[in-house]
Assembly symmetry: C2
Homo-oligomer: 214 residues x 2
């Protein structure tokens, strides 16, 4: 059965973005260090069309496992980027250039309708304005039996967690202390119960995997 | 060289006690589940004078490793218990009965002076009113070259972390979401840098060990 999986990098003090997020600093102050562990991996470079190197090992294996068997992606408007509000005349096309790393249909949750955006390499952005359950339904259909990845950010993840719709959650904990910003697990206590699946000790990052239980 | 080590159980959303802590509910609402993983271990039962059973395995090994080579303990007034303010005529003697599980000198940080309290089994509570550095100095002296354990709670740990005095920190992360209460890592960002030492995957709990770097 197709699962909804979520994975995100979190500081040890619980933040997935530092304070003062902006278009220029989407991960806030200090938050730009959160993806340090992943951007240097071979798997990451391959996904981003740069196959010319990168680290292998435990962290690389985890990323490959995470992205194996995915048929679609869901993300919030903040993660897609371009700032809030209507899309305007020359609308933002995401952070990722012409060949985004998803290579699947991507469903972007937004309050502002927009035509689908077809990119290179198999990524199509579809903009969903009628809520998280609709996005999940569309994503599962597009995935054709494969799993769906929830890309983030924290707000969207909290909505899906609180609604009991996430099957599996992997948190990559890095030894950063951001002291403020966007907390991953606010507002979900009492709405969802988690069970530990496994932990993997990688260099500079710990991979904690949980499943939701009812 | 004698190290100051700190270990504590934390919910996945960052709390070491739930909301509404009281003398009757020292770990707050929901927080009473935090030590579930440890109280059933053989090592824990032995330390508490109940050698008649308990679980062995990964978690038990971690607890044994944590408490090996300790010569003294430091804790805050809240962890010692009995409520705030002056000690009164028939003062509180801790949560642990006549034979507390420490079996070493214990230094309790408080604003209220009190004579040392000698218990059975090698535990002596000494009440320190002149601050965290004095407590650490006294504890290291009492430990005679062995390590010193900082027992908690969060407030005292934050003071020691912010002052750069903790050498090693082990956080036992359990898959609970408490949604409020006492956060472990508030107020320390920018004051201390951490480096991941190792992670161990135990049943129902993940053991994350860090050291501070300057």
């Amino acid at each position: 059965m197709s699962k909804l999986k979520f994975n995100i990098t979190m500081s040890l003090d619980g933040y997935v973005a530092g304070p003062n997020q902006s278009v220029k600093h989407p991960l806030g102050a200090g938050g730009e260090q959160l993806p340090d562990w992943v951007v240097k991996l071979k798997s990451f470079r391959e996904m981003h069309g740069d196959g010319g190197g990168g680290d292998t090992g435990v962290n690389d294996d985890i990323v490959r496992e995470t992205f194996a068997g995915l048929g679609a992606t869901i993300m919030g408007r903040n993660m897609f980027g371009g700032g809030p509000g209507p899309w305007g005349k020359d609308p933002w096309k995401g952070w990722w250039g012409n060949d985004p790393p998803f290579h699947t249909p991507v469903f972007v949750l937004t309050h502002h309708a927009r035509e689908p955006l077809v990119m290179q390499g198999g990524t199509t952005f579809t903009f969903v304005t009628d809520g998280i359950e609709s996005a999940l339904k569309q994503a599962k259909k597009a995935a054709g039996g494969k799993d769906v990845m929830l890309g983030g950010g924290a707000n969207v993840a909290q909505q899906y967690l609180a609604a009991g719709l996430i099957d599996e959650m992997e948190i990559h904990v890095v030894p950063l202390l951001l002291g403020g910003g966007e907390r991953l697990l606010d507002g979900v206590a009492g709405r969802v119960r988690l069970e530990q699946v496994r932990t993997v000790d990688g260099p500079g990052v710990t991979h904690l995997k949980y499943r939701t239980v009812s």
